[in-house]
Symmetry: none
Subunit: 187 residues, 2 copies
DNA sequence: ATAGTTGATTGGTCAGACCACTTAGTGGAG
DNA sequence: CTCCACTAAGTGGTCTGACCAATCAACTAT
């Protein structure tokens, strides 16, 4: 009945608990593999399986000779891997786009945004050196930052990374229109 | 200069290539770990590190005594793992509630929902044996199911679970109002 | 004081052993 | 001949221990 978890999965949970309860923050060094294997009473190979898995997720980073470090989820290695498997699945693709759009729609629904953010966005749109994708990324990054909700931002960025491997098209006037919307009330 | 990839990462790419080029489809059985280690000229432990990583992503499934199988990626397994780290990292109650609300708002914005779903929701609201929290849960579960986006549903559920221990208050008439909104156009 | 050496620590990889589970074959009882 | 029980092989699960490679810190000789 009860699911017999594999050791590496148990270690995985232990590591999560460890990070949470001991208050590790990005950049911190985790205990060594050997230390963890003693601490969790598991073989080092099992600990490594768990570490490799969350390394692929981008949660930790390991440097030979130094150690294992908690990482700021900037780049999600997993995204590339996942994308390569899922690219065919149109349903997943649509769900992903819808989810991302939901978040974007939310930050766009803010009544107002700070002046300096507005200026940044304008500069962005006029910047000819940027590709469409880069504009989209920086544009909404700015909006999310203005919004202030880190969680939403992270969720969006995750999906953004994901879609980087898929084609994504927006209308050329898309950003200008948004900016206009925010400018009007202030003039 | 060139990045010295770890063995498990190389194996990972080999496995991707293998799956792609040999046309594996969900449900198919992959070569055994021992076979792969010979094929890729790597230790079995290295092969396992790669397999464990993509298992956590939900790409494959392993069954002891049987083998390793390619899996249907509809379950968004990776979302759970990532969420468990992301949520606990930036778990400001307010951010969480806002994010959750964004998703709920989205399913509420559907123009219409199926009749049978509507009936279910009505029955729910009238059910006196349910607590507020249970009502909220089942109510939106129904709406998300009607919406059909499994990714959104999963994200919502994760946040829902995470907030299980936090107080959450809604007005008593909250659900009735929503149902009314959807009923009107049909009468 | 500084530069170089060296040893301890840490991750990276490998080999091999043994266990747990599943499956297919094999042989005997009916 | 049929059917069931047992066996053997194959597979993932886990552990141990060894050695390599890179880093870091302490120590030493200049």
């Amino acid at each position: 009945m009860s699911e017999r978890k594999k050791v590496y999965q148990l270690v995985l949970m232990e590591i999560q608990r460890l990070i949470k309860e001991d208050g590790y923050v990005p950049g911190d060094k985790l205990p060594s593999e050997r230390q963890l294997s003693i601490q969790f009473d598991a073989a080092r190979s099992s600990v490594r399986e768990a570490l490799r898995a969350i390394e692929l997720l981008g949660i930790i980073e390991t440097r030979q000779g130094e150690g294992t470090f908690l990482r700021n989820y900037q780049t999600y290695h997993a995204v590339e891997v996942l994308a390569s498997f899922v690219l065919q699945d149109s349903r997943t693709k649509n769900e992903l786009q819808e989810a991302q759009k939901v978040l974007e729609q939310h930050v766009l629904s803010e009544e107002s945004i700070p002046d300096h953010t507005l200026k940044q966005l304008e500069a962005l749109v006029d910047d000819l050196s940027l590709t469409k994708e880069e504009k989209h990324h920086y544009f909404f990054s700015g909006l999310f930052e203005a919004n202030g909700n880190q969680l939403l931002f992270k969720m969006w960025r995750l999906m953004q990374d994901f879609q980087a491997n898929m084609e994504l098209k927006v209308s050329p006037d898309y950003y200008e229109d948004i900016i206009e919307k925010y400018k009007k009330p202030q003039e």
